[in-house]
Subunit: 182 residues, 2 copies
């Protein structure tokens, strides 16, 4: 079979204006004290790719615009909606008041393995990615409606945070793919 | 429900020695001219987490040990098996001679969408991640047994290469999870 690479034009990506007006997945990403500008930028790029509705930046997580973040966000920091909360708990509280199911990506007692999650596409979700070293803080986890764990079988404790985010956002987004394929 | 964070001890990660002796997924990652040491290191970390058998570094892709790569690999560059080929096509040829199905991660005509791939767990696979700007080269793609595309709905052309790798390796690894859960 001929696997000819598609040109940028053939990818038919939407414009910033079209993106802003398009239907989004009811899925918000919360960044709880992410230190690395590369990781923040990379999450913006992933969120743009899966057309998520919003990123909530919390605590020490830097906000756009930022030259270093731009190196990995590549402009997605200008298409994605974002908000900032000094206190991650406040963000969780607000989302739950709006009927979001808030899920921490963390290795916890009673975590649900990512290959076993059930996504109800009539619900709205928010997932929390935690600090590179400390993960999601226990006080934030204590407020959550659930925890998702990525099964891991290696020597390291965890995946890179932007990679973990990509994997979880892909897995959840898959449940909603029909929105964009109709 | 109580979502108590697990301690590092409770994660029960295996040691480097156990890792080296453990059964791996029959899945190899080929890095075709990856420029960023952060991306290379991050792929090492992902490959360790999913207990892949090997990483093949090609062309300008840097080899361990490297201080800058270590910042994202965090030691996974010492657990993972790796090989180097100056020419990516040589690596593909060798793997195909060993009956691997070699799949490029690329947006091509006739690409299979990642949510529609079929993995035969009796087969061995290799996936190719391409350069940050140019992707997988057409001459490499032309040798492949297939192309996998991650469905994307945003304004950007593509995901970060280590994030794309994480997503694809997770999706393929899922098919083999029973190996580690038995």
């Amino acid at each position: 079979m001929d696997f000819r690479k598609l040109s940028i034009k053939e990818l038919n990506r939407i414009s910033v204006e079209e993106f802003k007006q398009s239907e989004k997945l009811p899925l918000t990403v919360i960044l709880d004290n992410i230190r690395s500008l590369h990781n923040i930028g990379s999450v913006f790029r992933t969120a743009d790719a899966f057309r998520l509705e919003r990123i909530i930046l919390c605590g020490i997580t830097a906000c756009p615009p930022h030259a270093e973040m731009h190196k990995t966000a590549l402009g997605a920091e200008f298409t994605m909606e974002w908000e900032y909360y000094a206190d991650t708990c406040e963000a969780v509280k607000k989302l739950q008041a709006e009927n979001y199911k808030v899920l921490a990506i963390e290795q916890c007692e009673h975590s649900v393995m990512l290959n076993e999650i059930y996504i109800d596409t009539h619900e709205k979700y928010a997932v929390i990615l935690g600090n590179e070293v400390k993960g999601v803080r226990q006080e934030v986890i204590d407020m959550c409606d659930g925890c998702i764990e990525i099964p891991q079988f290696g020597t390291k404790h965890s995946l890179n945070v932007s990679v973990a985010g990509g994997i979880v956002l892909w897995e959840i987004s898959k449940s909603y793919l029909s929105i964009f394929n109709k």
